[in-house]
């Protein structure tokens, strides 16, 4: 355990977020149980008032979750000099088994909280709150995940032992170790390039189709989700080396360092925002026929699609720009 301001900040924020979602899900459960939009009873009026509180809480929690995601990575990054063998966040995250699961959970919970906000926004446009049950079921799924994340993060920080000799990104993200990362790296570059540009094109075209005609919503959303994963894989496989200008350096975390102008935060933000909004479109698809949402939903979906496409397009543009104009020539 380190007594480091960043760690304390993360502890506090995680506890706060957990408390917030626990509080929210308690009332969420009450809403699931007693909700009756037709009634004007005081219970119902109280529950309706609670929904304001819960959506406020989750909006804040979502923003905090995003901040804490980046703060976590940055803190891991600043801790790396304490561990023998660590070069960047990867090394610190590898110090014990809780590091990477925490990062992954933080990403998932952020995406889920974001999706919740999208559903909430939509729901608030329908005069009979048609998605209320869906919304609060989702909240009940998010809560345990956030609690698990808090516990994992605490385990990670409490288990930080400076005597551990960790492995850094240089050894983790190479072709000759075992694991998902090395399998990605050992894939032929051309395959990854085709996969990246192929799925990206697919997603963007589907996005355009959906934007124009309102058709292929599921396809677009699925493509965005797949592209999300493929983009991360491609980043590890062949995009990162152009940022590092090192043909053997595949680390997805070093890009977050100062030497690269913190461009990594921007890139991941684009990817997260694009992925989130794209997934949101798919999530809203089943509700297009609901009478109270018929009019508003397509417009919301169009907006989401637009944001998603712009984010992904920017991500691709930056990556491609770097590949073409990098000092590294392969």
């Amino acid at each position: 355990m380190f007594f480091n301001p960043g760690i304390i900040a993360l502890f506090i924020s995680s506890l706060l977020i957990s408390g917030m979602v626990l509080y929210a899900s308690f009332y969420g459960a009450l809403i699931l149980r007693y909700w009756d939009i037709k009634s004007g009873s005081e219970t119902q009026l109280n529950l309706e008032r609670r929904t304001y509180l819960i959506s406020t809480i989750i909006s804040y929690a979502c923003v905090f979750q995003l901040c804490s995601f980046f703060l976590f990575i940055y803190t891991a990054d600043t801790l790396h000099p304490f561990f023998t063998g660590a070069m960047c966040a990867v090394g610190s995250l590898n110090v014990n088994k809780w590091g990477f699961p925490t990062v992954i959970l933080k990403t998932i919970t952020f995406l889920l909280a974001g999706l919740w906000l999208i559903i909430n926004f939509t729901d608030n446009r329908g005069f009979d709150y048609p998605l209320i049950k869906v919304k609060y079921l989702l909240l009940l799924i998010i809560t345990p995940l956030i609690l698990a994340e808090t516990i994992m993060q605490s385990n990670y920080f409490l288990g930080l032992n400076p005597e551990v000799i960790t492995s850094c990104c240089g050894s983790l993200f190479t072709a000759d170790t075992k694991g998902v990362a090395s399998e990605i790296i050992s894939l032929p570059r051309s395959v990854m390039e085709i996969a990246f540009y192929g799925t990206m094109m697919g997603a963007l075209v589907l996005g355009a189709v959906f934007y124009r005609t309102g058709k292929m919503g599921y396809g677009f959303s699925a493509a965005i989700s797949v592209t999300f994963l493929i983009s991360i894989a491609s980043f590890i496989s062949f995009i990162s080396i152009y940022f590092y200008e090192l043909p053997t350096h595949h680390c997805p975390f070093c890009i977050l360092q100062k030497e690269y102008g913190y461009i990594g935060y921007f890139l991941y933000l684009l990817l997260l925002a694009g992925g989130l909004t794209g997934m949101g479109v798919g999530l809203l698809m089943p509700f297009r026929q609901m009478p109270s949402l018929k009019e508003t939903l397509p417009a919301i979906q169009k907006h989401l699609t637009l944001i998603s496409v712009i984010c992904y397009l920017s991500f691709t543009a930056i990556a491609t720009f770097q590949i073409i104009f990098s000092n590294l020539k392969m």
Partner: protein
């Protein structure tokens, strides 16, 4: 225009202090008319007015506004309708202290997000209509009773509502100002607005502007008046 069917309003439901404010009340308000709710205090006038004005939801019963059933609309949507349909004038005017007269008039329109300059112009026009232009920048606590009343009326008009709802508007006014208020109401009626007033002031319900007087007692209508 507004129809109430079997409206029931219960406060503190299920508690020992349970109190039924309105008993299965049915009432239809016609458009472009001046309707007065008359009755002693505690007769449920104000509760009825707040349900008519979409400010509160009934415990049971149905409300139909301009052909649309709005009973179970959540507050979010109800407010939107209320903001666009109704203008309120309260017993104590309920002007906000510490801000200027013109800001008070503009206040109901703030959440609409109209361009600010347009909004300001509308408010200024209204103030002009009520001879308050010279007081526009003054704080409301410096206004005389009549000026405060006219400001409150101006505020009720800023969203160009179809219906004006006034709760005991003349309770704190002298006779001259009360008559002046009724004169303004007459102008509104002439403009085609629907007017609802809760009052037990004879100046109000004996005024020739009034089309219908509804008498209430203990949460029930005892005389629905002529339509």
């Amino acid at each position: 225009m507004i129809e109430l069917q079997n409206i029931r309003k219960v406060f503190n439901e299920g508690l020992s202090s349970e109190y039924i404010a309105l008993h299965d009340l049915t009432l239809a308000i016609a458009a472009h008319q001046v309707t007065v709710l008359k009755g002693p205090s505690g007769s449920g006038k104000t509760t009825l007015l707040s349900i008519l004005g979409c400010m509160a939801r009934p415990t049971a019963g149905r409300i139909v506004l301009a052909g649309r059933e709005i009973t179970s609309l959540p507050e979010r949507f109800l407010t939107d309708i209320r903001r666009q349909t109704f203008g309120f004038i309260f017993q104590h005017y309920n002007l906000l202290k510490g801000i200027s007269v013109i800001e008070n008039v503009m206040l109901p329109a703030y959440p609409q997000g109209e361009p600010f300059s347009l909004l300001k112009k509308q408010a200024a026009d209204l103030l002009k209509l009520f001879n308050l232009t010279h007081k526009a920048a003054a704080k409301v606590e410096w206004l005389s009773g009549g000026e405060a009343q006219r400001t409150a009326i101006a505020r009720a008009l800023v969203n160009q509502p179809e219906v004006i709802i006034a709760d005991e508007p003349t309770a704190h006014l002298d006779t001259r100002l009360s008559r002046e208020f009724m004169d303004i109401m007459r102008d509104f009626k002439a403009q085609g607005k629907t007017i609802l007033i809760a009052s037990h002031d004879p100046i109000v319900h004996e005024s020739e502007v009034v089309d219908r007087v509804v008498q209430m007692r203990d949460g029930r209508i005892i005389d629905a008046g002529v339509i």
